[in-house]
């Protein structure tokens, strides 16, 4: 029966080519626009570390003075050195890492390469196990290297390719900021998007090329880049960042169970109260503990233009579908005579309804295929844009299936009313004429 209905549907669609083309085009345009914007939105609001992000938390404290205080104000989005170090040493979580970033001058040993600045991350040892960073060669460092301000460095695959031709470079020497560093690890393929652990460097920006111990970076006076927010007499001078009243550190902790989250929350609250009691925190003690999804939501990482475009495209799809309902209604009602004959010959309303719905499904399928091509074209256009997330705009298999499902389902939904109306035509009236 399915095959017969399919045949009927194709025949009927071919009979009125212009109307069919209009319907298919409307569905395709709607689906194409919708899927392009939804794919971009899907990519940008993706989970940076699937399976892990729910148990990674970002503690926030408010060490600022009372100038500008209003009740309920959000604490700063980074920590001071003192608070970061206190929380790090408390070791209340499964893993914890204190970090910041900067550009590191790199002098390649190869004479054919000019010196350049590498994008660096200065962090404590837990960064690698906590974020589940894969290694191609070697490994990260331990807290012993943190304590001894060791001159060790972990490099990205891209940098390893550039400097060492992709060879195992563990044990080789890298010259950073006029000092020799020993390469102890080469990262595997690792690029969580967005760059959740430090959004100040651009949410979809390029990734770090060198990772080295935080203590070493301070020891060698490496340049700190990123946001520095100071108050009171804090000057933000590079050399005095440890003592100054400025927030400039990111601190992440891993908390695996709800109980440990609750414990950490109360620990943070007590810490804030202690600091307030001792006079270091001028404001009433406050703290926040957000995990990665909450943090990305709070920071509104997805550009508002992207969300606006997605809404616009969905409105567009809605109009296209209403249009398809109208055209389908015209098409089905025009065939009242034919349907009357089929009814008179014994086809049940159900059968007729099924047949018409299948016909709209065919329109949806063809529209979906065309819409998919349009969406691929749309994504290609997005990738030509220079914004830093543009290169991420690719369709994955989930979005591909969604495209088809939406196209076929939406068109069949659009076919419901016309099909229902058409199969309620009185057969006698049609046969008489």
């Amino acid at each position: 029966m399915f095959g017969y209905y399919l045949d009927l549907a194709v025949r009927s669609l071919r009979r009125s080519k212009v109307l069919t083309a209009l319907m298919v085009l409307a569905v395709a345009l709607g689906i194409g626009a919708c899927m392009t914007t939804l794919t971009v939105l899907h990519v940008l609001s993706g989970d940076p570390l699937p399976g892990r992000s729910g148990s990674l938390y970002f503690p926030q404290l408010d060490p600022r003075d009372t100038v500008g205080y209003v009740p309920g104000i959000e604490p700063p989005e980074q920590l001071t050195w003192i608070d970061g170090m206190n929380l790090l040493r408390a070791k209340r979580a499964t893993h914890q890492a204190l970090m910041t970033g900067g550009m590191v001058p790199l002098q390649p040993a190869q004479t054919n390469l000019d010196p350049f600045h590498a994008n660096g991350r200065y962090t404590t040892a837990d960064f690698f196990p906590m974020f589940g960073v894969p290694f191609h060669y070697g490994s990260g460092w331990s807290s012993a290297e943190d304590d001894s301000k060791a001159r060790v460095v972990v490099i990205s695959t891209a940098l390893n390719d550039k400097l060492f031709g992709g060879q195992n470079s563990v044990g080789k020497t890298l010259r950073l900021q006029e000092a020799d560093f020993r390469v102890i690890g080469v990262l595997g393929d690792w690029r969580p998007d967005p760059h959740f652990y430090d959004l100040n460097m651009g949410a979809y920006a390029d990734y770090e090329e060198v990772y080295l111990p935080l203590s070493t970076s301070r020891d060698l006076h490496m340049e700190h880049d990123g946001s520095v927010d100071c108050w009171g007499d804090g000057g933000g001078e590079q050399a005095k960042l440890e003592q100054s009243t400025c927030t400039w550190m990111q601190f992440w902790v891993q908390l695996d169970t709800p109980a440990s989250v609750a414990d950490y929350r109360s620990f943070l609250q007590h810490y804030a109260e202690d600091q307030h009691a001792s006079g270091r925190f001028a404001r009433p003690p406050t703290m926040r503990l957000r995990n990665v999804p909450q943090w990305l939501e709070y920071k509104q990482v997805v550009p508002s233009d992207t969300r606006l475009q997605a809404w616009l495209a969905m409105g567009f799809l809605l109009v296209c579908l209403i249009n398809t309902v109208g055209l389908m209604l015209a098409k089905f009602m025009r065939r009242a005579g034919e349907l009357g004959v089929r009814r008179a010959l014994g086809a049940s309303r159900r059968a007729l309804f099924g047949q018409l719905l299948l016909e709209s499904g065919v329109v949806g399928f063809v529209g979906g295929v065309l819409g998919l091509l349009l969406a691929l074209l749309g994504l290609w256009l997005v990738r030509q844009q220079p914004s830093d997330y543009a290169k991420l705009a690719h369709m994955d298999s989930a979005m591909l299936l969604t495209t088809f499902a939406i196209a076929v389902l939406a068109t069949m939904l659009a076919g419901l009313l016309p099909a229902w109306r058409a199969c309620h035509i009185a057969p006698a009236l049609q046969l008489k004429a």
């Binding site: 345009l29 010196p115 249009n323 109208g326």
Partner: protein
Amino acid sequence: MNLPPIIAALRKHKAGVVLIALQIALTLAIVCNAIFIIYSRVENVQRPTGMDESNLLLVEQQWVGAPSGDDAASIQKQDSMLREDLAALRAMPGVSSVTPINTIPLLNSTWGGAVALKPGTDLRGGDARTVFYYGDDQVLATLGVHLVAGRNFNAGDVTNKAFRDNSEPDVVIITKALADKLFPKGDALGKGIYLNGDTKPSTIIGEVERLQVSSNSSWVSAFTWNSTIGPVRLNSNFARYAIRTKPGQLDTVRRGVSNLLYRVNPMRVIDDEDGVRSFADIRAEAYRADVGMAVLMGVVCLILLAVTAAGIVGLTSFWVGQRHRQIGVRRALGARKIDILHYFQLENLLIAGVGAVIGIGLAIGLNLLLIQNFEMDRMPVVYVLSGLVVVMVLGQAAVFVPARRASNVPPVVATRSA
């Protein structure tokens, strides 16, 4: 032409009528909001920065191996490297003036801060927010901004300080917009203002006509024209230079400037792509998202209108076919061609009118939603009205073809059985 028969006929096609009306309503709502978005973006993109934007280059470079400390010796070393570069750039053929600069309009690298009339009031307590530009005595000439009151900086005003040193300059030039905000009586010249909560005043020695702040994001929209210029060379291990070239020399200077700087001191990094940019590039980069959004909105509007028109043509054609015989009867009873044409036109006017009324409500609702979620402004009524005109005209244009076909139905049809 009587309305009652039309309404009576429409009652027989409830589904089709509702669909067309709904489609017109949604199209109206989306199109007038989209046009409003296009207009606000284009308005943003077109405003002048206040500089003479032609013949202007920005060079960004970083020294490798320069001292990075904030101690006096490092700062003096950094400053001598900076002055060495400036001297070389000023001697370059085709260059008319050069200034070191921390940032320029639309670069989206911003030194934000506050201005207050009382000492010791910082950002939250200050009288106005501002963005700081730091250059030397050639800064006004290089940027091409117009001094409307007071005097320009002279060589004696220029000082140097570490990049992160938060002491403030003794003298400043501010934009007229900022001066008028701080001193509504227009007597800003010679007055002292307190920058970033400083306890020592900086004296206003001049006012420039207009200078946009260095960002075009939404967070600066409240103080877009509040710029403050200080005569300070900022010392760090990197520097930016703004270069005004002689007319027609932009490309020559642009090509030669990296090599010149490498000859002065090879130990530096100048990015191949972004190291040397013309202001036109910076402007295009800053507004790329806005232009992209405007184009996208425009395309969507056009397609939306086309789809709606196609829908009207499709359904009206179907109605014409359905009423083929009735039209014949009317013609046989004495109706002229023009009467039939008018019948369908009026019918469409009625449906589109109802759709448009619903659409106005939807448009305003959509605008309120956008205001709530996307920091949009309230849409002026003129957009709704012009959207209304557009969809009504669209409806009439779309209905014309099927209506013409209907008017051509010959009266003889009435005598045939269907």
